[in-house]
Every structure is written in C-alpha cells, then in structure tokens.
C-alpha cells in the first residue's frame, strides 16, 4: 500500500497569547490537490492557525508539518512551493498589474508566465493598469495572482472575499474553483458558509480555538443522515386525528398549532408516501408542504454558538 504524505499535517496544535488560549489542540490533515476550508466566526482562531502554517507565527505546542517541513524552521526552498494571500490586499499601488507580477515572478526559480497568470485570474484586459486604480474585486484577483505566479503546490487564501459585493464574490469563487484544474492544494479560511460550500472538498468548522466539526460540506455535522423536518397546513375541515397512523406517530405528542403541522423524521420517504397517498385518496390539497434537511447554516450556527 502506498502511503501518501498529507500536504498539511497538524497534531495537538496549541497557541496561547499570555493567558489567552487562542488555539486549543487542533488535529488536521489536508491531502494533496484538496480544497480545504476553515469555516468559523471572527475571532475563532482561523488566522492564527493559518499564520502558523504559513510560518509567520510560532506555536506554543504541537506538531506541524507543511510540505514535509516545519514552517517555524523551513528549509530555504520551502517558500518556493507555497503561495500566500493574506487577509488584507497588499499591493504596490504604483506598479501596474503586469509589473507587479513580473516583480514577484523574479523571486521564484520556476515561475508561471506572467501572461498566463493574468489570464488565469481574468486580469489580462487590465495588464497595464496600476494596482492602485483597480476595483476592489480586481485588486483581490491581482493579490491571488501574485500568490500564483510562483506556481506553488500549496496556496493559502485567508478570507479571500471578505468585504466583496455579491457579484465580485461570485467571480472570485469562479476563479478559485478554476484553480482546481491546476492541481493545487488550496487551504482557505472564510466566515461565509456559502463560500465553504461552493468551493471546498472538505470543511472544518472552528469555534473557540477548536475544531467542532469536519467533513465534506454535504455531510458536515451528520447532515446526510440527520432527521428531516416535514411541514404542511391541515386542509380546512380536516382534524389532525384524521391523518394516517404513520404521520400521527411521527408528530408524536405535539399537535398542530393553527393548523400548521410540523414533524421530524428519520424516514421522510415513508412518511411522505403515507401522507400524499392519504391526501390524493381524499382529493385534498396540502398547502405549504415542505421537506427540509438541516442546512450547513443550521449546523454552523448550532456548533459555533
């Protein structure tokens, strides 16, 4: 069996600032070519952890391996292999898009071509504009381009779309999703649930310096097999007692309020079958019939509160 070394491996990571314990025992594995998202509210410890992985901050305890090296004491070639986009845009306003990329390309031994990088982030039309005159969304794309021009294996994106309007965010997502085709490993942090859901193969929810849930966005917090909720309005002139037995049992003790029936079930298919069969046979309408699985938002709010 071939054992593939994860691109990022973290065990028992702790970080304290004086009395404050910002990170309290994190374990983490990120595989090659994976898009991994750290999802959590502001102040959860996301940036602290990312900056430890990037080599900006020292840890208090634990083991951290990024691309086979300890980021606190990396070998000289290590930075050739990673690309970093910090939370704030850090552009030199006097340089054009092309010049900014040429400058950064010079730092790397095997850079991606500047023209190709501009195309990748959709800035080829703005090549000769100065960075200071770009729109907010364009500046962020140049920021990402600066991290990509070294052709890194691993890309860190710290809250890449914070402060964006919805259309700029949508564009940024498309761009990040397109990086998947390049075979890069992407580690991103975000406090937007939709962002994690749209981009990531795997999400870890972090709260109070700990990982409280981890998994594919669809399965997070046991969402794939969690109870669904079914709700509908009782047709006029029909009593709750007239409902079929399966439905009544699922409702349990809680009867309908103002004719609104709400129930939770592990087996929505059987309940819906009984309910709709019953309604069809009596030629009844079930207004407001709705089946819901817990959304990532429900899971997130439950876990981070």
């Amino acid at each position: 069996m071939v054992v593939v070394e994860p691109v990022i491996r973290v065990r028992g990571l702790h970080k304290s600032y004086g009395e404050l314990e910002a990170v309290r025992g994190i374990d983490l594995d990120v595989a090659g070519r994976e898009v991994f998202a750290f999802l959590g509210p502001n102040g959860a410890g996301k940036t602290t952890i990312v900056e430890i992985l990037e080599g900006y901050r020292e840890r208090s305890a634990g083991e951290v391996v990024v691309l086979g090296a300890d980021p606190a004491d990396p070998p000289s070639q290590w930075r050739q292999r990673i690309g970093i986009v910090l939370q704030e845009c850090n552009l030199q306003p006097e340089l054009t898009v092309r010049e900014s990329l040429e400058l950064y390309a010079g730092y790397y031994t095997a850079p991606r071509s500047v023209a190709e990088t501009m195309e990748l982030v959709g800035l080829d039309q703005a090549a000769d504009q100065r960075a200071g005159r770009l729109s907010g969304g364009q500046q962020r794309r140049l920021d990402v381009a600066l991290a990509l021009v070294g052709d890194p294996e691993l890309l860190f994106l710290d809250e890449p779309t914070t402060g964006f309007d919805p259309s700029a965010r949508r564009q940024a997502w498309e761009m990040i999703a397109s990086l998947r085709g390049l075979g890069k490993t992407v580690f991103l942090t975000t406090h937007y649930m939709e962002e994690a859901q749209a981009l990531a193969d795997r999400v870890a929810i972090i709260s109070g310096g700990e990982i409280v849930a981890e998994g594919a966005p669809d399965e997070l917090g046991g969402r794939s097999d969690a109870a669904s909720s079914i709700s509908f309005r009782l047709p006029a002139g029909v009593a709750a007692a007239d409902l079929p037995g399966e439905v009544l049992r699922a409702i349990g003790g809680g009867g309908p309020a103002n004719g609104e029936v709400q129930l939770r079930t592990e087996d929505p298919v059987a309940i819906l079958n009984a309910l709709t069969g019953w309604a069809l046979a009596r030629d009844l309408k079930l207004d407001g019939l709705e089946v819901r699985r817990p959304s990532l938002e429900d899971v997130y709010l439950e876990l981070t509160e």
């Binding site: 970093i84 704030e88 850090n90 070294g150």
Partner: protein, 256 residues
C-alpha cells in the same frame, strides 16, 4: 537568479515605484531644487562669514545637497518602509522566497542612486544658475562622502521606522526629526547667523557633519584635499548606531 541579480531586479521596480510616487518625488527632488533656486535668488552676490568668508550661493549648494541626501535616504526610507509595513506589503514579501537582505539592499541602492542623481542635479544647477564652480578635483572625495552619508542615513531611516507607530504618523515624525536639525546645522540658515552654542548641539547629530564635509568639498578656500575624515567618521558612527537599532528592532508586520 543570484542574490545580486535579485537585488538589481528589486531595485529596478523600486525605482519605478519611487518616480511614480508624487510625494517622494516632491520631497526628494522638487523640494531641494525649489529651495536652491529661491535661496540662490535671495542671497546671490552676498558673502557668508563662515569658513573664513564664502560666496553665499557656493555655501547653499552643499547645503541643498545635504537636504537632498537626507531626504532621499533617511526621510524616504522611514516613510516608505512604514507605509509598506503598515499596508502588509512587507509581511507579504516575507512569505515569498525573497531574502530580506536582498529587499533591503534594493531599497538602499535606490536611495544611493537617487542621492547621487540629486548631487549631480544640484551641482549642475548651481553652476548654470549662479555660477557656483564645480569642484572637479574633489569630485571623488565628494562622491565617497556622499555614499557614506547616504548609507548611514539609510540605516537611520530604517531605525526610525521602529518608533513610527502608523503610516499617518510617518511624515510628521520624520519631519519633526530632520527639520529642526536642518535649521540648527546651518542648512537653511547660514552658520554665521547661528550662535556657537547651538552649533555645538548640532555637532552631536549627523546632519551637521554631512553638511560640513560637503561644504569643505565645495569651498574653494579649503586648503587640504577636502576630505573631512572626522565629519565622515561621525556620520558613519551614526550609521552604525542606526544599523544596530534597525537589526534589533525592525518589524515586518503591521501594528494591529
């Protein structure tokens, strides 16, 4: 790329940034030129009773060169590095394979080249506008003085960033440090007008020594080779002090 090639690469882009930034061009280039022209027009034909009597315009050419070197080196680095630090650009550079010394070398190279350029510009303007003789025989000595001065003031500029808390504070603190010294050191006012006690205070600081060394080079009455070893050593000592502070205290990350 080797370290040297990389430093040249960085230097090339730093030059673009410098010349495209209106504030740095104004303070480093326009301001000294304006100062030379205004002072020259006002004092033209007068004699300053310093150094045993010197033509006033000849006095102010090295004074304005001092102003330009301190601007291009200390003031410019203190302000631009603080802005780079506070906008996170330095932090970002730390995340690339660029070695820190290469980055700093590029910036210092930038200041050196700008200082030499200003030396040439002010000297030529002094000759063309006011007939101040160009001291050809002491050119080498002046360039050596200039290079030592520029490098020392660069180190002091980097050191100065360590006490500047924010980008908004950068111009205020920098000007607060240099402007009083320009006045006290005889850069703005002829030294014959300054009480000797004040000049002794100014003697503690490097601006006065750089000016003295350059003045000796331009003064036709200077008997010796014109190289002021004592002054140049005093400037260099301040440079070493700046270097020590910079190495110990320089921060790459913004204040939060």
């Amino acid at each position: 790329m080797s370290g040297i090639e990389l430093a040249l690469h960085q230097f090339r882009f730093d030059q673009k940034v410098f010349w495209r930034n209106p504030a740095s061009v104004f303070f480093t280039v326009m301001f000294p030129v304006m100062f030379l022209v205004l002072l020259g027009v006002i004092v033209n034909g007068q004699t300053i009773h310093a150094q045993g009597g010197i033509d006033a315009t000849t006095y102010f050419v090295p004074a304005v060169i001092t102003l330009a070197v301190v601007s291009a080196s200390m003031a410019n680095l203190a302000m631009s590095l603080t802005i780079l630090r506070e906008t996170g650009i330095l932090k970002r550079l730390r995340g690339t394979p660029l070695p820190s010394w290469v980055f700093v070398a590029g910036r210092i190279g930038n200041a050196l080249v700008t200082s030499l350029l200003m030396f040439a510009l002010v000297t030529v303007l002094g000759r063309l506008l006011f007939g101040v003789p160009i001291p050809w025989s002491r050119l080498f000595i002046l360039v050596v003085t200039l290079v030592v001065g520029s490098a020392s003031f660069c180190a002091l500029g980097v050191a100065l960033t360590t006490i500047i808390p924010s980008r908004e504070a950068a111009p205020a603190i920098t000007n607060l440090v240099v402007f009083p010294l320009y006045f006290l050191s005889g850069v703005f006012i002829p030294e014959s007008e300054i009480p000797s006690g004040v000049l002794h205070v100014a003697d503690v600081f490097p601006i006065r020594h750089l000016f003295d060394a350059l003045l000796a080079g331009f003064d036709p009455a200077t008997a010796t080779s014109g190289f002021q070893l004592g002054d140049v050593a005093a400037v260099a000592a301040w440079g070493v002090f700046g270097l020590v502070v910079a190495l110990r205290r320089f921060r790459w990350e913004p204040h939060i």
